[in-house]
């Protein structure tokens, strides 16, 4: 195969000019689509960093919002209550939704399989995935606020967020568990392992990195939700730790600040948004590091 041989290349092995053009066109279109999709992403990150970083300071993280939105910058306060509220409420919601959702997925894959009940469960999980988040808030409001005749409370917000996370966790865990080769389960069963041990010691550890991805998606979604919290967790500026009390949250803080006429307060909304994104990114990184340690093919 000398380079001089190119001249004598038989016509049937040569790439035709028409195909070369079509190839270029197709590549160009796909590349353009990719760039178009990247533009808003890059802009979001750019504005978040440019406007958000300016709002960051030590007091931004260490003080509560004062509620004073008309005077000089120093008196509007930070977002301490929102950060702690989001961590606490999303944490509680995750503690409820992750085991429950994973459990449902394990049941669907390992036990329910093709039974009519399993199909019904799958269908309703799909329906739940499509329910707008405000509907979950409304449901909790009707049941736990109006229904009990009590006031708002952080744990009610957590319930709403948990409902929101549940179908996301279930669906992603089910997809991942489905991917675990059945040969793995069979070889474990053939060793004389009871089914629950096969699931807890072989299937779930093998699926762990995938399960974590699904859980992170659900957490990210819940952490960014305003609507389910507005009339479940209530609105407050104070840092509260009790789960029965009103609780602030990052998205609620953004919603409140961004409608303000004062520039400094709108800037705080950007700082809050950057904080939210940074927190989710950090969580993501931590989870990746942890799951990498369990070297899975």
């Amino acid at each position: 195969m000398s380079s001089a041989g190119q001249a004598r290349l038989p016509a049937r092995f040569a790439v035709s000019a028409a195909r070369r053009r079509r190839d270029l066109l197709a590549r160009g279109l796909i590349l353009t689509a990719t760039v178009i999709a990247l533009v808003p992403l890059a802009l979001i990150l750019y504005y978040l960093l440019r406007k958000g970083l300016g709002a960051w300071s030590t007091s931004f993280f260490s003080t509560d919002p004062t509620g004073n939105t008309f005077f000089k910058t120093s008196s509007i306060g930070g977002i301490k209550s929102a950060i702690l509220g989001t961590i606490e409420m999303v944490g509680l919601a995750a503690a409820m939704a992750i085991p429950l959702g994973t459990g449902v997925a394990v049941w669907l894959i390992e036990y329910g399989r093709d039974s009519w009940f399993a199909h019904a469960v799958r269908y309703f999980v799909d329906v739940l995935t499509g329910v707008p988040s405000i509907v979950f808030g409304l449901f909790i409001y009707i049941v736990l606020v109006v229904g009990t005749g009590s006031s708002y409370g952080a744990y009610k917000g957590s319930f709403a967020l948990a409902l929101l996370m549940l179908p996301v966790v279930t669906r992603s865990a089910e997809v991942i568990l489905q991917l675990i080769p059945s040969g793995l389960r069979e070889s474990a069963l053939a060793l004389g392992a009871p089914r629950w041990r096969v699931i807890s010691r072989v299937v779930l550890p093998t699926a762990l990195p995938g399960l974590i991805t699904g859980v992170l998606l659900a957490i990210a979604r819940a952490a960014g939700e305003t609507a389910p919290l507005l009339f479940t967790a209530g609105e407050t500026l104070k840092t509260n730790y009790g789960l029965g009390e009103f609780m602030n949250a990052l998205p609620v803080q953004i919603y409140r600040d961004v409608t303000s006429p004062t520039t400094a307060v709108v800037d705080r909304a950007w700082g809050t948004a950057l904080t939210l994104v940074a927190m989710i990114l950090l969580l993501n990184l931590m989870a990746r590091l942890i799951s990498r340690r369990s070297h899975v093919a």
Binding site: R113, D114, P181, G183, L184, R185, E186, S187, A188, L189, A190, L191, G192, A193, P194, R197, V198, R201, V202, P205, T206, L208, S294, H295, V296, A297
Partner: protein
Amino acid sequence: MTTADGLPSPLADMEPESRLQSERPQQSDGSQARARIIGDSARLATPTDNAIVTNQGVSVTLRGLRAFYGDAEQVKGVDLEFRANEVTAIIGPSGCGKSTMIRCINRMHEEIPGARAEGEVLLDETDIYDPAVDVVAVRRAVGMVFQKPNPFPTMSVFDNVAAGLRLGGRVRSVGSKAELQAKVESALRGASLWEEVRERLHEPGAGLSGGQQQRLCIARSLAVDPEVILMDEPCSALDPIATLRIEELIDDLKRRVTIVIVTHNMQQAARVADRTAFLLGGELVEVGPTQQIFTTPSDPRTEEYVTGKFG
């Protein structure tokens, strides 16, 4: 006809079949298998001698075994004995029910949705399809090696072998860490893998070569001290050298266990098996000493198959 416990035997009404009632294997004590499967604690090996017990193989007898996938009958009434501490090869064309049949011997067949089995499978004298039988105990007594090597991907070489003991809940009866290590080493030696992996016991099992992975899977099933090992085309994914090593290993293992091996490779059957059974369309055509099946089969279909006229 009663069993050792004085219970009426489930076989009492059965027509005695001379072919199946051939000589009882000399070494094994029927009560051993029965105690392990029924969970008769009095006769179970005590934890202290558990660490050193190496079971002898037991015989496996199929009586009128039928296996179904939904309504489709895949194994159509097979009567067959696998003698203790012998290697029996099962040959036959694709789809003739070989794999399905051996999956009935450790009750893995029923793990497939819609699959079920009828008839009897006797481990020594105990019918493993008896409703009182614990299916988990059956699978500890009857190990299985699959076509594709499938070490647990999350576990190291050591943990893969220990998995049989840990997953089966035997780790407490093994006792100390040193005893567990001894058991793992002995299982790896049993699978003639020890020398190759002793330096990398804590590396991922999936990092071994295909042939090593398959021997790792054999070690994994040996660790729980089974009496029977079923092999479902264990070499079909391996190269000739790795295949040879597994075949040598099989020859070695039959002192400890009864081996049933499904194979598509008739040379392999001729090399490793004491007896060979030919299956066709879910029915047993012929069973006999390997030499006889390959040279002077009594059924013309067997002759056609082993001489390569079909299949």
